[in-house]
Symmetry: C2
Subunit: 175 residues, 2 copies
């Protein structure tokens, strides 16, 4: 599956919520996501622009691989995800294989749907609030247009291409 998404910082999530609701977007729900990112035993993910993540969410656990971003403007990338029966066990397997914990991202995510867009409002622990707009259709060019139009409506600008993990690690290093 190809993923196209744009992420922007926002200092007023409450306003974004009311704008989404007034344009008739469907509020899907709010969940807490605990993400553990791993480093590769012999490859530098920060150089290859890949990621390996375990996500704990509402009693479920998923393992996801994210390939390098293939579009500068949006965050289009390859993503492969499976559900796993136990987060602790899959973490143990990864550690035995030489993958180490690179960082942890904890956030509360509120999801809205509007036509073929999914809008996520993320309140990230120790980092701040962000709006991620993702296109869930087949036509990538159409997806880009819809994302940019939604950004205009929500008065969002800028595309933070760094992941929450990178932002958190940069913050720790005082960058």
């Amino acid at each position: 599956m190809l993923e196209i998404e744009v992420k922007s910082y926002s200092d007023n999530i409450a306003l974004i919520k009311s704008q989404l609701e007034s344009m008739g977007a469907l509020r899907v729900g709010t969940t807490k996501q605990i993400d553990i990112y791993f480093s590769h035993p012999c490859r530098e993910f920060s150089v290859t622009d890949e990621a390996l993540r375990i996500r704990k969410e509402g009693g479920h656990c998923t393992l996801a691989y994210k390939g390098p971003k293939i579009d500068l403007e949006t965050k289009t990338r390859d993503e492969i995800e499976v559900e796993v029966s136990d987060c602790e066990q899959i973490a143990s397997i990864l550690k035995k294989l030489g993958f180490n914990i690179a960082g942890k991202v904890v956030k509360e995510r509120t999801v809205y749907r509007n036509a073929s867009l999914v809008v996520c409002l993320d309140e990230v622990e120790d980092l701040g609030s962000f709006v991620e707009i993702e296109y869930a259709g087949e036509d990538l060019e159409e997806g880009k247009r819809e994302i940019l139009s939604m950004m205009n409506k929500l008065h969002l600008s800028g595309n933070e291409r760094r992941s929450y993990l990178e932002l958190l690690l940069n913050k720790k290093q005082g960058k």
Copy 2:
């Protein structure tokens, strides 16, 4: 979980079945197992004596890591296993991470239970038939005694410490 097991070659699986049944062992069932083994991107599993395996069995998929054997007589080793929602997807994730397919083992496994022992009769494609006796209790010394006593009753001798994968790879190389 620690696993203690012994594996012996057998040229008469039908006789073993009737012996198990006459001693009152419970026949749990027969399944087909398709196992895909992977090599590590920067570690030689044949040297470190580890294994990473995806198993497809009756519509289910599991991912298992097996650590080095820690007992010469039995095949005691660390094993961590999780159930995964999709075998093809987890295989794709592993390939993206640099793990390659090292081999495939297809077998029909018939499982019997007798007290704290699990006896598996494996008919392995391109290899032959084997009896694996595993102890499913807490007391490792007791487990070894029970396994050796069962081997005597079934007139089995020898402990094949090589995995089916190793045996198949050796056979291919004419060893």
